[in-house]
Symmetry: C2
Subunit: 233 residues, 2 copies
DNA sequence: TATGTTTGCGTAAATAATACGCATTTAAAA
DNA sequence: TTTTAAATGCGTATTATTTACGCAAACATA
């Protein structure tokens, strides 16, 4: 008799799934990655990538796996968003969904429409179709969380190429937070944190007009972060 | 054939439970409500109140129900904390736990040791015994969240009697945040938000030395809150 | 009545946020 | 080439906000 059998307490059980809300940033626009459902229910409707939790993986791994299987995106920083448990949120029966959200550099994930079963596509936030299940609600919550978080943690850098200009970074913040920031004050503040590494020398002949390139000093940030440092925009 | 049968996708399923991390504030001390486990596994060890999710309730209702059944506490403001999904976190088998945390006025919930099956008891934060399952980890996360949240939302008022003095309120913040605040500056700031109602007239002959009593203007706070108001200490 | 504690109000100094001027650089138009 | 428009980079004055702390009044207790 193993541990499980020794104590096992039978019960009707809900199914457990994960869903991934993937934000990508591209040319001044925040986009969202969606999958067209190939099966009922909600066949043909758009939904977040996700799927059932396997018995030998935790939810983080499940979200990463499903994301990779359905969109080819891997090794991204994902974070648990919220767990949705309404009784009737899935017509197939009782399904509990642990939602995650992630931030990717859209430029690295040009999703080509349609592999076999599922079609993945980026949608500008202003043109999101009606979503399957309660995914509209999940999206609202994810957006709120994203905005709340980016205002005091430098997760935004995940959304840019490794080397970026200050205006690109500012544009990112303005897009996500939906505010206008003063160019010169933004520059002053962001540089004052001393988390940007000047990359000017190594980038030549790029498309931008004589722009100065920076990269994010992740190591330094993690050090500061441990000491409770607060990075506020 | 009903909706569920039509689409049902069988799968091995983890059990789903909720756990409640209940903080209470009492005389300058933050306390934690724990239950002594009556059954294996971890029989005799202390753990958070909680239990299995029923098929006809969502996780919020489940947490409220379990909390009431095991401790008699009801109608508290609970908030989802995080969902714990490690494969081996419960020796009985695969169990996913949706953790909640709540804030109660300890004075209203003098838990008397032991009803039939379960013994509930308040523990000062500095004297928490070794907990069952991965509840140590859950506690750490709950404490971090509580501190992060109280710093910009007036959830602290839930922890005080309806009428309280400014020093009591300050003491609450100092206890939870583990900081020292300047008496006069705290007063200035908290009053500037205009969320406290002067209750001086209606309270007479109380124990405190000529103290001034206030109550929290919840209605006003909710109005401001909707408009994105940020209440920072 | 004396004493220690707590409350309530004010103000000065330090720090941070905001607004914005202006010279320089660059890409593209004339 | 020259001009123009846009974007970069640095500075500074103004305004808020935070922090530190002095001191009088109210009160309970001795």
């Amino acid at each position: 008799m193993n541990e499980q059998q020794k104590y096992c307490y039978e019960y009707p059980r809900p199914a457990v799934t994960t869903d991934c809300v993937i934000f990508g940033f591209d040319e001044g626009e925040l986009k969202l990655l969606l999958i067209e459902r190939a099966l009922e229910p909600f066949k043909g409707r758009w939904a977040f990538p996700g799927g059932f939790l396997n018995m030998n993986e935790n939810a983080d791994d499940c979200a990463q796996r499903e994301l990779f299987e359905e969109t080819g995106i891997e090794n991204v920083f994902i974070e648990q968003l919220y767990t949705f448990t309404d009784v009737d949120r899935d017509p197939r029966g009782r399904v509990v969904t642990i939602a995650y959200y992630a931030l990717v550099k859209l430029s690295e994930y040009k999703v080509t429409a349609g592999d076999d079963a599922k079609k993945a596509q980026w949608f500008p936030l202003s043109q999101i179709p009606t979503l399957a299940f309660d995914h509209d609600r999940i999206l609202r919550i994810a957006l709120t969380r994203l905005r709340g978080k980016i205002a005091y943690q430098p997760i935004g850098f995940e959304l840019l190429p490794e080397k970026f200009t200050l205006p690109e970074l500012q544009n990112l913040y303005e897009t996500i937070l939906e505010v206008q920031l003063d160019r010169r004050n933004f520059r002053k503040k962001i540089l004052s944190y001393d988390l940007l590494i000047d990359q000017n020398q190594s980038v030549t002949g790029v498309a931008h007009k004589g722009a100065k390139y920076y990269s994010f000093d992740k190591k330094k940030y993690e050090e500061l972060s441990k000491r409770g440092f607060n990075f506020e925009i």
